[in-house]
Symmetry: C3
Subunit: 432 residues, 3 copies
């Protein structure tokens, strides 16, 4: 295994790839079991029929088999070769029907004739098959046998949760959707990066508590918010991880608040990276940030993607496979999230204990730096001066980094040095 | 007649064109009588000598005849051929005088030798004639007879007013100046568009009351403000109409407040039109917005023009005639004002009745839209989501349209659909 | 002498040039005596050892002689030829030593082999010589005799202060550093401009009191702040003068507050000048604005320079001599500061006494201007209208000039005219 080159994440994705997930059912459970190999997830089951805000937890869907046989009895479409072949959440069906009638249940992508599309029929009882357009064109007239061996029964909706307790009960929420079948970027990539991020954050102590959610898209997030409504005020920052394995540049979508601390931290970290990136404004269409940012919650939760959904042709097709995602992209996504968490952890406010005029840095060995060689500790002297000048209890370290035009990490190093020399102390009173 | 192609407005302007108007007198009365053919105007008369703030209502000016005869007794300048020939508000005069002396009373436009300039002598007792520079150059030495048969006597200042009562007493003020003689763009165009706007708004019910003023420039607006000072707090929005018939792009001049709702609505409507337009900042020089926006009133009143005054050579000359204005330009000005009123009418604030997570649009048949076909009602699904997301009682529909980057009308359609489905209700509490 | 062409300032600088100044000692005293020829300076002496915030007033340093003799007994480096040759604040030394050992005490500028660098050893006991790199390369092996005849003894830190009392006790602080030896731009230029500014402001009465400081860099400003801490709240505006004689464009560095009135006034005056200029953001590295803008004081004090320190190769070298500075640059710096003071003096808030509608300017002879000839007093009519429109007690004259896009001086002339006509009065209530 190798965390550094993304090999471990890619292998994890490969293991999850064959599982046929949906918004409910055993596919989700099996996936959560796999995640438990890395982190001690708590698995919740919420019964079908439970009213969650304006929604109702749906029946549990499970699938054993699905195929189309031609008049010769040959399986021309087989769920076991690719689970995208069956429209996800299809009701059971077993019957013979002529091609003309079958066609209204077939979905293809004429623009990409070799790819199989991904379709769902959540919240409406229907059935169907997805196949490549090439294969569709070869279908000859005649009678076909269709079989979808699924069950739609009262059961439960399943999701996983992992809380890493920190020094305070203030939380950072990190959420990803786990309801898609064999699609790698959307969203096995998010599952893998989230799992590894949780694993790494679990090693060490933190100021914040980190809450990881592995939930079915939309209904899972809604169910979690419904079940945890009184506690959501603990969430101070958060982001959704989805589509973080393709070769495109990292994209951060701002929260509804737009200038929340999480938004500013992502903007800072991305702007200081050497890679291309995009920052896009909030919109109410997208992943589960839609629920976290609904007006009744308005949580400071953004969304981390690489190429945004719908902006790459492989999106929601069989071409979103293991070769579409790239280990180095996974690593870059993970590293960025870790850096963001690191900035959140350190983004405190300090007060200069010698606020009247500059303290005499020279007698403390801290002055050689400015315009010349750095001081012994390797901290840039100008950053020392910025920290002293702006540490009036009203500027966070991120404020200082932004105004000084330097890296947060450099500001943080300067802070450590100044605290060590008794020139600075954390301002624990409420942030202004 | 045709409202749609501007023919009716152009005919109305043609009917008003020959009348010799001034800031007082029968020209104004005749003009208001003509407007009454379309709308039930109330005509007010304010006696000469009335003190109105820092000003005094001037004497009433009426004119019967004015000419210059040469030594041969031939009328070489005749008021009855063009009422611009006499300096407006000239005192009576009848005498003979040599060319050298006459010249100090003659005004021409050397840069446009065929045009007659428009000049006034309000608030200073003098007299004069305006003529083309070509004619001026042909004047030979000798004695001339000048006759200006005017009267300047105590009488009154006349203005027209029309209030269309709405559901509330909150008012939209629409004002135009009616004191210019035979000049079409400045401001028969404003009179015609204002009249037709009033006629159209009088058909139907509205949230706002609409108050139309037809007043002599400056002194008329001041007199109205003086007479109605306690009631001006009812004015929530307003605009002045002047020079709205030429072929230039529509120009909106912001109110002194700069970001009043009327300023934002004009900016929104113009930015969504297919035509070129200009938005200019407030300045204290211009039309009667100067009075409405004086610091003691500071009303949210902008000004609608096409090419701004002074930016076209025909301004205040005989070339501002019936061929200078264009029916289609009048229609475009009228249509824009109607659309602005329509946005003002609908720009309310709503609350999402399911603010916690998204409501389940699918079960209401409202979800097919996003990224695909529109829902049955033809409303864009993304706009539905924006309205739901921002309807927290703090965002007006205009706020939502601006943030979503879409048309106000699309937002308004989405609102109607959501209200119909019980997902939204108007927020009647005070707007935040 | 000539103030107008900068000749007097240049001569003053020439007189100060030979004096060997340091942060303490007789060089500073002699310099202050010279300044007293122009303005009645008060000289303060603060004893060595006094604790001033985090600092301690150092010992007094005086120098009689310093040289290096070669083996032949020839003085090859002589303090009396150029006082930069000795590292400023060197401890006394008299001994013989070989070249190899001497070299660790020698400082040169290889990139500019003919120039002598300026070095100091404040706050650390050491000694050294500065010489040209050309001379350094010619040193042959052998024994050298070094002599630095200095004294470092308890004495005092000396600084000068001059307060011009105005109508109010609100102060404008103008400060320059006086601790550098034979360096013309840094900062004999600042001393000369400051002296002449004080001399000119002392002639006449002012609204503000003007406090001029002539202090050793850093420790002098800190000492002054320590000694005057309770009174600094009187400082409403201020600027530091340093490096204002070179041929580069004027540069204004904003105060820590960034949009203080002094920052806006400098921006306005510079933007209306015909010369190139730069406005740079605050940073905590620079001249004594560092102390005035430390978070415990946060005074609205900017810094006036021409080419910023460190951005010209002559900085802190013997090439910063009398030919490096230019009389016209000194005049331009002085003139700009005078204009800034003039704007500060006049930047008051007025109320329109006829706030409802425009006053009738015509009956007061103030109206011919707009779009035509100016009124008798030479004031632009549009500026009159702007002043009337915005004088609501909430807009200062600078606010008006900025919004109207015109010169402050034009606004001020309009104000005088309107006050004379009883249309405006100063708003003495607290500025909103």
């Amino acid at each position: 295994m190798s965390m550094a080159d993304g090999g471990e994440m890619h292998e994890f994705i490969a293991a999850l790839y064959p599982i046929c997930r949906s918004i409910t059912g055993n596919g989700v459970r099996t996936t959560l079991e796999q995640i438990k190999r890395y982190i001690p997830l708590t698995v919740h089951e919420v019964p079908s029929g439970t009213r969650v805000f304006d929604w109702t937890v749906p029946k549990e869907w499970n699938i054993t088999d699905a195929y189309i046989k031609n008049a010769d009895g040959k399986k021309i479409v087989d769920f076991h070769r690719c689970n995208l072949h069956v429209v996800n959440y299809s009701v059971p069906v077993k019957k013979k029907l002529p091609l003309a009638e079958l066609k209204s249940h077939l979905f293809t992508l004429p623009a990409h004739p070799q790819w199989v599309p991904y379709r769902t029929s959540y919240y409406s009882e229907s059935w169907g098959f997805c196949l490549s357009h090439e294969q569709f064109l070869q279908l000859s007239d005649g009678e076909y046998e269709v079989c979808i061996d699924t069950s739609l029964e009262d059961g439960s909706l399943t999701y996983g949760e992992y809380l890493i307790r920190g020094e305070t009960s203030d939380e950072v929420l990190i959420s990803c959707h786990i309801c898609h079948p064999s699609l790698c970027n959307d969203n096995l990539s998010g599952i893998a990066v989230s799992t590894m991020l949780a694993k790494m954050l679990s090693q060490g102590t933190h100021r914040y508590s980190y809450r990881f959610l592995f939930v079915p898209g939309t209904i899972g997030a809604i169910t979690w918010l419904w079940a945890n409504e009184p506690q959501v005020t603990a969430i101070k920052h958060g982001f959704v991880l989805a589509g973080v394995g393709d070769r495109g540049p990292l994209t951060y979508k701002r929260s509804r608040q737009g200038t929340a601390e999480i938004d500013r931290v992502f903007a800072h970290v991305l702007s200081r990276s050497e890679n291309k990136y995009e920052i896009v404004e909030f919109s109410p269409y997208g992943y589960d940030e839609r629920q976290f940012c609904s007006p009744g919650f308005n949580l400071p939760v953004g969304c981390v993607m690489r190429t945004p959904f719908g902006h790459y042709p492989e999106y929601h097709t069989s071409a979103d496979n293991l070769s579409f995602i790239h280990p180095q992209a996974l690593v870059d996504s993970l590293t960025t999230c870790l850096e963001v968490c690191s900035v959140l952890e350190s983004n405190r406010t300090y007060v200069n204990l010698n606020p009247k005029c500059e303290p005499q840095l020279g007698k403390r060995g801290l002055y050689r730096s400015v315009g010349g060689t750095p001081p012994p500790d390797g901290v840039d002297g100008l950053v020392l001066l910025w920290v002293l000048n702006l540490s009036d209890g009203k500027h966070s370290l991120l404020d200082i980094a932004e105004r000084a035009g330097c890296r947060f990490t450099d500001v943080n190093e300067a802070v450590k040095l100044l605290v060590k020399h008794g020139l600075l102390r954390e301002c624990r009173e409420s942030f202004v």
